[in-house]
Symmetry: C2
């Protein structure tokens, strides 16, 4: 055991590192079950309790999901429960209804300097830019047109996302992060967001259907996959007239 992972750390941390490696290498895919605790214990020659502690931490990190009686599964963005795990915008009233997606653009180009820095790309390396709107279905009885609430600007590293096209996204049912996971083997694990209040520029205002100068919530998100590797930079403008960004502090 120690031969495989020479640096000193508690056994369960070493097990955790091995398991994360398994996720990173794609040995176990999102949604699939990993081996049982007893199986892993005998494989790594440690007690079940040690494996358990490693898995406990990974479950707390949202890398794995435990299901009593069934097994332990690799976390995925496919489940209802985590459908919008990273989207903190919720309607002020009523329950959260699914948002419509309207893709505006998808093009490959050289990454601007700031994007390259955030995604740890070499200057001028290829990147994919995606622009899209999220729209809230009209809640009134009349059933009017859907109201735009989010204007997103995504930047993805070109290499892992080779073959990402507008059509592929348009034909996809379900969360974008599920597409990334299923088709490009990129699973988003965590993200850092920076929020600001800004005034809507003319073009953004037009897309969101509001007056220029309307206060918007600017959300810059940097998403990471296994091993704290940044794989998405997203700039969003949220309309907070009838929605708000919800956060829990602990």
């Amino acid at each position: 055991m120690n031969a495989a992972t020479p640096s000193f750390s508690p056994l369960y941390q070493q097990i955790k590192a091995l398991l994360v490696q398994g996720l990173q290498s794609g040995e176990w895919q999102p949604g699939q079950a990993i081996p049982s605790e007893t199986e892993l214990a005998s494989r790594y020659r440690v007690s079940q309790g040690t494996v358990r502690k490693a898995i406990d931490e990974m479950a707390a990190d949202n890398l794995l999901v435990r299901r009593q009686g069934k097994g332990t599964f690799v976390a995925t963005h496919a489940e209802q429960r985590t459908q919008y795990r990273f989207l903190r915008l919720v309607p002020d009233t009523a329950t959260r209804s699914p948002l419509q997606r309207r893709l505006l653009d998808c093009k490959r180009q050289r990454a601007p300097a700031d994007v390259a820095r955030a995604l740890e790309l070499r200057a001028g390396e290829a990147a994919v830019q995606v622009r899209r709107l999220l729209l809230a279905p009209d809640e009134s009885a009349a059933g009017g047109p859907a109201q735009p609430v989010v204007l997103d600007d995504l930047w993805l590293p070109g290499l892992p996302f080779k073959g990402l096209t507008l059509e592929r996204m348009e034909n996809w049912r379900g969360p974008l992060y599920r597409l990334f996971e299923a088709e490009f083997s990129v699973h988003m694990v965590r993200a850092e967001e920076k929020l600001r209040a800004v005034a809507a520029a003319a073009d953004d205002a037009a897309l969101l259907g509001v007056a220029p100068g309307t206060p918007l919530l600017s959300v810059e998100r940097l998403s990471f996959t296994y091993g704290d590797k940044p794989v998405e930079l997203r700039r969003g403008l949220y309309l907070t007239q009838a929605h708000h960004y919800r956060n829990t502090l602990m």
Copy 2:
């Protein structure tokens, strides 16, 4: 053991409930050590491992802080590390320097309906309202005047905060939440925030030293103490010209 807590649940959950009760009742004060794991194990007639699991969860909830070799301590807002545990506003550049506080007002009055509802007070019950500014020290070499960055409006239930005055807050060194904890036995455990982008009203703009209509980040925070009891409603307006609200999604 089961006699004391008749409802069925895992043993360690029952222990956890008992420990939370101890915090709630003030048996152990913030900053103080609770009894050792072995002591608690023998007191509650369970194994040390069971106590350990209860404490593990409470540490994860930020109710307790473990210090190897020293003991387990009741979490407090006094520590440097958690000085601004609930304030997510950080400067865009440089490190986070301590903010100045300028108290504007503190008065006792009947709680408005919305405040009463949030704080679970009876209609018209007494409440304390506090208004204050947070100012960032000028970073430039010149060392100009401090720049207001946060305008806060706090509402506290009148009963537990009997005796809270402007002087008492002005003479207090350190975080407000530490004052609440030390003088009023109210420890904030967690909070829910709702964020919006708004345009600055004339009076708010004047206090923050910006033009009316400037986009501001509106942060409505409801804070809870032990047992999910709401004890503070806070409405903040954040200037996000040189600062941003930082959030981590997991």
